[in-house]
Symmetry: C2
Subunit: 185 residues, 2 copies
């Protein structure tokens, strides 16, 4: 594995464990088993490393979720699949979840960056389609997207605090009901 990859993996882990600022670049390099200098060879600044990490995560989330939506699905099925895949991705990658929460609530984040990601674009298309079909509430599509993201976040947070429900498919479906009822007409 190349050293850029190694740095990104270690960075994700340490950032999630200790936050952006409590994690020294030197520690990241050490954990990755590479020299201090090579980190700055690939990432000019610590901020750039953090930004790239975020973009990479969003890309991975996109690929993971988009793959699971099949062509002939109804709109509700597609949204359900997207919701469940997001939930499971976040449950399976707890470090990435923490990292993303931190990033999206930091000064690094803005709506511009957010709106341009393929994951958000895909979600927006679904929202618009649903509004056109009269299935979803007639509100700005971006609001529906953010509502769904927020509900995924709430669900993940709840399941982490109450892991006894994490494997219960019925309970997950119940969680989806809350999200769906929020956006459906």
């Amino acid at each position: 594995m190349d050293k850029k990859q190694k740095v990104m993996i270690s960075a994700r882990k340490l950032f999630a464990e200790n936050g952006f600022y409590s994690t020294a670049t030197a520690k990241i390099a050490k954990e990755a088993g590479v020299s201090n200098g090579i980190l700055f060879h690939y990432f000019n600044t610590k901020d750039i490393l953090i930004q790239e990490l975020y973009n990479d995560l969003k890309d991975r989330l996109f690929k993971y979720t988009a793959d699971q939506i099949y062509k002939g699905a109804t709109l509700k099925e597609s949204i359900y699949t997207l919701w469940l895949a997001s939930l499971e991705w976040n449950m399976e990658n707890p470090e990435d979840f923490v990292f993303m929460r931190q990033f999206e609530n930091s000064h690094y984040f803005n709506e511009q960056i957010y709106g341009n990601h393929r994951f958000v674009q895909m979600s927006l298309e679904l929202a618009e389609k649903g509004i056109d079909q009269g299935i979803l509430k007639k509100v700005p599509p971006m609001l529906l997207v953010q509502t769904m993201s927020g509900m995924v976040e709430t669900s993940v947070t709840y399941l982490k605090a109450h892991p006894e429900n994490a494997a219960n498919q019925d309970f997950k479906d119940r969680l989806f009901e809350l999200a769906w009822d929020a956006i459906k007409k």
Copy 2:
């Protein structure tokens, strides 16, 4: 105003602007117009300052919202009042909103701390009452509470990015509809 208060006000402002770690204690003291030493006289460590700030904010949110719920209100009215008051409090105190988002997504935060606040206790009581009355979905009350909080957060984030709607009461009512539909039976 006593110097402890001055420190807390400056800290809230600077933390929200630059995050916990980019804000030096010395800068907080300077902004507050007090000496470096007095900050550590009142708050043994920077972490304690951050924790106290959070508790203080939650208390203030509780007072602000609880005051507006009147005795004879129906459950839906009470929840609406709570929701709207929370929304407005967050809109009117943008620094506090940012601070709270950062705190609740940092390692400082855990469910224990969260669940013990009066604000959450009050929300929990409403949720339980609603379930008993058959008005709200029969899911764990804490899930309903977190869902409502999440929806407030989503609404605030959306309104900040689209300020043209911020003064529109109809739009706010529309936002409440999404939240209400999520939790109602």
